[in-house]
């Protein structure tokens, strides 16, 4: 259907995206491990490259660059393979180039010390305008990739009237529909920040920028989670000879994520003045709502495991666990990630819980929480999926698969140690985002120290794990001969798409509804802020 030459051209663009994400996690890990040791009091940053510059780099590289480039690469890959056709890959390359240019612009400002504002860039901390412009260009680059995926769906619908879009492409496209709804918030924030950073307008409304940030900032984590779900539903079942549990329920889950991911951001702002408690209560409820598609997913994943085990003649919990391919690095990465996600879900409910959040807000508990979510299910699934992708992109067998397997285990153990330590220290009151937490020997600060040391040990194990990952990823590219066929298959549904209602097929419509829903839910708090504009901030460089 498609020529070998074309598949190679498609693979090259996907490789560019995926290896950019690998470079980001490698560099991000160097900064990360240093931070762990700094908080444990074992090292301190040199004056020419301070802790907070490292922290900004770590956050941007891990949260924005590693995740986004992986998801764009993965989504292009599944679209190209599940909808084979004559095509050129200009959009894929253009998206990559624009994203890379934005990344380079923002990163060079951070490295030069002109944007030590952490990845949340809260005003009135005032970075160089080129940092904000670079970040905006990165987002616009992802929209080009989204366009490429949507264009392929339009093509499919024209050629196959009445036939559902392949499930894996539907999931990837849903991820980008949600992403576009969400990134409108950060683009709105940049429209406030960029003229202010240039000095064209004297002041900025601080609360408004923070609300816009979190309008984007929380769905950002669902963007990562949806990327992981694309893999869990469509790729992981092929590793144990299983099926996606149900076509319809999978589509329903992704549509629910489109709808529910965005109107939740204010749960990051519960401790804030200027937003009344009624709106905070509303956002508690909406944040709880977004747990529902994850419940459906938990059921679907475990049901798929069990159905595959029954097919092999095994029964019960132990039989199911034993039937799974634990020595396959792609499966192991995702499966350890799923286990970590259970812990992440528990913590997340605490954070979203209105009054209870006061105990943990801005403590290192939160850092523990997002490391056991984005650093657990998301990153570990992506790392495992990279082991699955590279042979299919290069035709080369994975270099040292045993090292890859060891890597996933190290990650799981390292993350458990680091994240648990952070959670406990957070409950004792240790703050996040702080280079040194000794406070001149205050008694309460001394009670955090053992946990900070344990977190640093966990971080060091994670660092080793990332080194192993980079070694396998590079080793495969440079060392191994081409032996593998480059085909990729995706899981088929145990309950096929024939029974899926038509209303679960329309992505564009659900995207419009999601945007309308987000606007309605945010109208209250944003309206309140606009009615009380108060005093703008001219901005400061405090680093």
């Amino acid at each position: 259907m498609t020529s070998d030459l074309q598949v190679r051209a498609e693979n090259r663009v996907v490789l560019a995206h995926v290896y950019t994400s690998t470079a980001a996690i490698a560099l991000g890990a160097v900064f990360g491990v240093f931070q762990g040791f700094s908080r444990a009091g074992a090292v301190s940053a040199p004056p020419w490259f301070d802790y907070y510059r490292m922290l900004t780099m770590h956050g941007v590289l891990m949260a924005l660059i590693f995740t986004t480039f992986f998801i764009t690469g993965l989504s292009l890959f599944v679209t190209y393979r599940a909808i084979p056709r004559e095509r050129n890959v200009t959009c894929g390359w253009l998206g990559w180039l624009v994203m890379l240019a934005g990344t380079a612009m923002a990163a060079s400002e951070i490295l030069a010390g002109n944007a030590t504002v952490l990845y949340t860039f809260y005003a009135p901390l005032k970075a160089s305008p080129w940092f904000y412009i670079g970040a905006t260009i990165l987002v616009l680059g992802t929209w080009i990739v989204a366009f490429e995926i949507f264009e392929n769906i339009v093509y499919w619908r024209k050629r196959n009237p009445g036939v559902a879009v392949p499930l894996v492409v539907f999931c990837a496209a849903a991820t980008f529909v949600m992403w576009i709804v969400a990134t409108l918030g950060v683009v709105a924030e940049m429209a406030l920040l960029i003229p202010w950073a240039f000095g064209w307008v004297p002041t900025v409304n601080v609360l408004l920028t923070r609300v816009f940030f979190w309008y984007f900032g929380h769905p950002l984590v669902y963007f990562w989670i949806m990327g992981a779900y694309v893999i869990w539903y469509n790729i992981i079942p092929t590793r144990y000879g299983g099926n996606t549990f149900s076509d319809g329920l999978t589509r329903l889950t992704f549509i629910m994520l489109i709808l529910l991911s965005t109107p939740v951001g204010i749960h990051h702002e519960f401790m804030e003045p200027g937003i009344s408690s009624a709106w905070k209560a509303l956002f508690t409820i909406t944040t709880y709502g977004v747990a529902i598609p994850s419940f459906i997913t938990a059921f679907a994943i475990f049901a798929s495991f069990e159905l595959a085990a029954i097919k092999q003649g095994r029964r019960g919990f132990i039989g199911t666990v034993k039937s799974l391919p634990w020595s396959d690095p792609a499966f192991a990465g995702a499966a350890y990630g799923m286990l970590l996600f259970i812990l992440g879900g528990f913590g997340g409910l605490v954070n979203a819980s209105y009054g209870m959040d006061a105990v943990v807000h801005n403590t290192i508990w939160i850092v523990g929480h997002f490391h056991v979510t984005v650093g657990g299910p998301v990153a570990l699934t992506f790392v495992g999926a990279t082991y699955w992708l590279i042979p299919r992109l290069t035709g080369r067998a994975l270099w040292k698969p045993k090292l890859a397997l060891l890597q996933t285990r190290l990650w799981f153990i390292g993350m458990l140690i680091m994240s648990f330590s952070m959670h406990f220290a957070g409950l004792l009151g240790a703050p996040r985002r702080t280079s040194d937490v000794t406070y001149q020997g205050a008694a309460v600060a001394q009670s955090w120290h053992p946990y900070m040391t344990a977190a640093a040990i966990g971080g060091a194990i994670l660092f080793l794990s990332i080194l192993a990952f980079v070694a396998v990823a590079l080793g495969t590219l440079l060392q191994n001969r081409k032996t593998e066929p480059m085909e990729a298959t995706f899981a088929t549904a145990a309950e096929p798409s024939a029974t899926t209602p038509a209303m679960l097929q329309h992505l564009f419509r659900w995207g419009v509804i999601a945007l309308a829903f987000a606007v309605i839910v945010y109208a209250g708090p944003i309206g309140e802020i606009i009615r009380h504009p108060g005093y703008g901030s001219s901005g400061l460089r405090t680093w």
Partner: protein
């Protein structure tokens, strides 16, 4: 589209749990006043030093025996740096920032607020245990963020 019986049970269980948790939070909010701080008062951040009562930050005793504590947060210190409060007294904290966003957090308590320039945030707390408490800025505010902290001494009655 068929939805398996077990899946229905699981979803019912999950959603019931969510509703139960929300009911508990609502009960705690109404019955025990466990609500997040949401100060709605505005102040010109440039004029904080001239705006009473923030022109003289510190503790005030009210006629009903409770206290008000006014705090100014600015890079990289709290004013007042030390507060002495009697045990079991009800104290309402008021905090504002003159520059960037700061945090206002007393480890070991649920006193946890963001100090945003232009706004006064507020929260009430009763210190049941005497001793020395740390007050820390828990939002990154610049190069000296880690040295931004104060002390609160709760004296035995």
């Amino acid at each position: 589209m068929h939805i398996h019986r077990y899946e229905r049970w699981w979803m019912t269980f999950g959603i019931t749990m969510l509703v139960a948790f929300l009911a508990l939070l609502a009960f705690a909010a109404v019955e025990n006043s466990i609500v997040p701080p949401s100060g709605m008062q505005q102040i010109d951040p440039k004029l904080v030093a001239r705006t009473p009562p923030f022109d003289h930050p510190g503790l005030r005793r009210l006629s009903d025996g409770s206290y008000e504590a006014y705090y100014v947060a600015q890079v990289f210190a709290f004013d007042p740096p030390l507060l002495v409060i009697p045990q079991d007294a009800k104290v309402t904290f008021y905090v504002t920032s003159t520059d960037v966003v700061h945090g206002f957090f007393i480890p070991g308590t649920a006193v946890n607020m963001m100090a945003v320039p232009g706004w006064v945030n507020t929260q009430t707390h009763v210190f049941r245990r005497a001793g020395e408490y740390l007050l820390i800025c828990h939002e990154y505010c610049g190069i000296g963020h880690q040295s931004m902290f104060g002390k609160i001494e709760v004296t035995k009655r």
